[in-house]
């Protein structure tokens, strides 16, 4: 029964990773860049939600929607001013810019909201369901997290495969030049990808802080890196891959915490990343890319 408890909390943590990983995997698939600042967009989303709910007394769901609006615009602005001018630049330059952007967000948050940790109010309270005569308790947040993740996955998969915009996104990730020739507005598509990824980051931020209620300017960075690990694990560029990778990573992390050592759990998670990259660099569900000379 304890095992099942750990498994469920692993799935719940993994669902959050999966939502964050979606942002990484979509941006990587289209812009071919690692958006290091994604984790910090989560933090911004969580702060917006926190202030909306506890300072201005809004309904938590209105708070989440507000956070999504803020993060979506933030994502578009970041893309426009930091990444778009570097479209033709070497990937090292883009990566360094993204790291700079991550630090910029963290330190702006530090100045605006100070480094004192804030206690995030859970968006649906702290209650839990009791199963098997109270032996197994599953908190409402856990259920909400898993349900949200599944819904997002279904909606996003349908969006990518059925709509015209989704088709444009797939075309851009395949070949930007050819997509442009076919009349697709590549820049707008990339902006859209950033917007969707950042909007999802706001949801992930609210869920993450409902489950682990300490909110600090550095809250987003470690989950961000772990979610990137999840995206790589599942195969970067693949949406079902992000889902699968996120869930597996969450379960691995919780089991490592429970059965190995809570201090070494991060080391175990990063160890997984290294092993995956060595054994199957394209990830579980990723496509093998051939290098052209």
């Amino acid at each position: 029964m304890i095992f099942l408890n750990f498994f469920i909390s692993g799935i719940s943590l993994g669902s959050i990773y999966a939502i964050i990983a979606l942002g990484y995997t979509m941006v990587y698939g289209i812009a071919k860049m690692l958006n290091f600042a994604h984790g910090d967009v989560i933090m911004v989303g969580a702060y917006v939600c926190f202030y909306a709910v506890s300072r201005y007394g809004m309904n938590p769901f209105v708070g989440v929607v507000l956070a999504m609006a803020v993060c979506t615009s933030l994502g578009i602005v970041i893309e426009r001013f930091a990444y778009k001018p570097l479209r033709q630049a070497p990937s090292l330059a883009v990566l360094i810019t993204a790291i700079g952007m991550s630090y910029f967000l963290q330190n702006t948050a530090l100045l605006l909201w100070s480094s004192n940790p804030k206690v995030f109010p859970s968006i649906i309270g702290r209650g839990s369901f009791k199963l098997f005569e109270g032996k197994l308790s599953v908190s409402h947040v856990t259920v909400l997290t898993i349900a949200t993740c599944v819904i997002i996955m279904i909606v996003l998969s349908l969006f990518i495969s059925k709509t015209k915009l989704g088709k444009a996104m797939r075309a851009c990730s395949e070949d930007k030049g050819a997509a442009q020739l076919m009349g697709i507005n590549v820049n707008a598509t990339i902006s859209l990808t950033f917007a969707i990824g950042s909007g999802l980051a706001a949801i992930a931020g609210a869920l993450l802080c409902s489950a682990y209620p300490t909110l600090m300017p550095t809250t987003g960075s470690l989950p961000g890196i772990k979610a990137f690990t999840a995206a790589v694990f599942g195969g970067i560029g693949s949406i079902p891959g992000a889902f699968l990778g996120g869930l597996m990573l969450g379960v691995i992390e919780i089991f490592a915490k429970a059965y190995i050592s809570s201090q070494l759990s991060d080391a175990v998670v990063f160890g997984v990343l290294i092993v995956v990259l060595l054994v199957k660099p394209s990830g579980l569900l990723g496509k093998q890319l051939q290098e052209k000379v």
């Binding site: 630090y103 330190n107 050592s261």
Partner: protein, 353 residues
């Protein structure tokens, strides 16, 4: 050997190398005189050794980022391996070798060896990757080193050396000393790091890197950086050369870590986190990738400046972030580059060259 190689170099290149040595020596002489005539405030004197350590870190990371063209985000990890192994060595030698400079030298050599071993072991998996993946895996290794050191216990007693992971199970005999105490790190370090020692380390690092860069291997590094596929097609062993740059860089970082640690009485593994890696990256980027002198100056300026501008200390990291973004935009975007070149009053001269 060094002299002949320098004479054979293109004159511009040789001039730049001599200029770098000259500036470093001149800066050392000035600081040393100012320090001995009490002209330097005590807070500035306390910063001389960390500045030297950061300079070596900048040189070392520049070899990976600037010359070999791979982004390492875990360089602080090698620094911490060097710091812990170096300090532990110094403590073990305390009774045997009372002469402090010799102890410091041996500690730095041991630190360099340990860091080089770590660099080699990490390099085996890491250097098979490239680009963003390589960067993220070096970051992962940096974090792994940090959490391993945070859970590492190491002690000595009459029975020999003991170490354990996670919990302290070394069970030292009476009179033994627990040197590395997990998350508490090492405390009670004798501060034997001196400014002259730091200066010598900077000079050694410069010599190693300049000689390496201007050798056959150095040209191979740059060929691989500029076009990996072309370099591979003319028969260069990519992994071998990348490993060479990576291990050299790790060894220098380890020695710098030992120097850095022996300037304080206590060190903990959390001191060498991702922020430290980024700080060193900022030195390299601000100084210019591949430009050793630039990195050295950036390391000095960015260590002194925050101390002098205490009242703005909250804005320090924000400033670093802006520096990273602006430097990248300014050097990589055609429009911004053109705009900046129009602002430059020496534009004509540069074009004529």
């Amino acid at each position: 050997m060094t002299m002949r190689r320098l004479i054979n170099l293109k004159r511009v290149e040789a001039r730049r190398i001599y200029l770098t040595y000259f500036i470093v020596i001149a800066a050392y002489v000035i600081c040393q005189t100012m320090s001995s005539t009490k002209f330097l405030s005590s807070s500035m004197r306390g910063m001389l050794v960390p500045i030297c350590a950061y300079m070596v870190m900048a040189i070392s990371l520049n070899l990976v980022v600037g010359i070999s063209g791979e982004l390492s985000l875990g360089h602080a990890g090698f620094m911490s391996v060097g710091a812990f192994s170096g300090v532990a060595t110094a403590i073990l030698l305390q009774k045997v070798l009372p002469f402090a400079p010799a102890r410091l030298a041996i500690a730095m050599i041991v630190a360099a060896i340990f860091a080089a071993i770590a660099g080699f072991l990490i390099g085996i998996p890491v250097l098979r990757l490239k680009g963003d993946y390589l960067a993220i895996v070096t970051l992962a290794f940096g974090e792994i080193i940090k959490s391993l050191l945070n859970n590492f216990y190491f002690g000595v007693d009459s029975g020999g050396l003991h170490f354990s992971m996670l919990t302290d199970t070394t069970r030292l005999l009476k009179g033994g000393r627990l040197i590395i105490r997990g998350p508490m790190g090492i405390s009670g370090i004798q501060k034997i790091a001196t400014f002259p020692a730091g200066f010598i380390l900077v000079m050694i690092a410069l010599m190693v890197v300049f000689n390496l860069v201007n050798s056959r291997s150095g040209r191979a590094f740059m060929a691989i950086r500029d076009d990996r596929i072309a370099a591979e097609s003319i028969g260069l062993d990519i992994t071998k050369y990348k490993m060479m740059a990576f291990v050299t860089s790790a060894a220098l970082a380890g020695a710098a870590g030992a120097l850095f640690a022996m300037n304080y009485s206590t060190i903990v593994a959390n001191k060498f986190d991702f922020n430290t890696s980024i700080l060193i990256l900022v030195f390299v980027v601000l100084g210019g990738q591949g430009n050793m002198l630039g990195g050295i100056i950036a390391a000095a300026v960015l260590t002194i400046l925050p101390e002098k501008l205490r009242q703005f200390s909250e804005y320090r990291m924000l400033l670093y972030a802006v520096v990273l973004i602006v430097m990248m935009l300014a050097t990589n975007n055609a429009e911004i580059k053109y705009f900046l070149s129009r602002l430059n009053p020496f534009r004509r001269k540069e074009e004529a060259e």
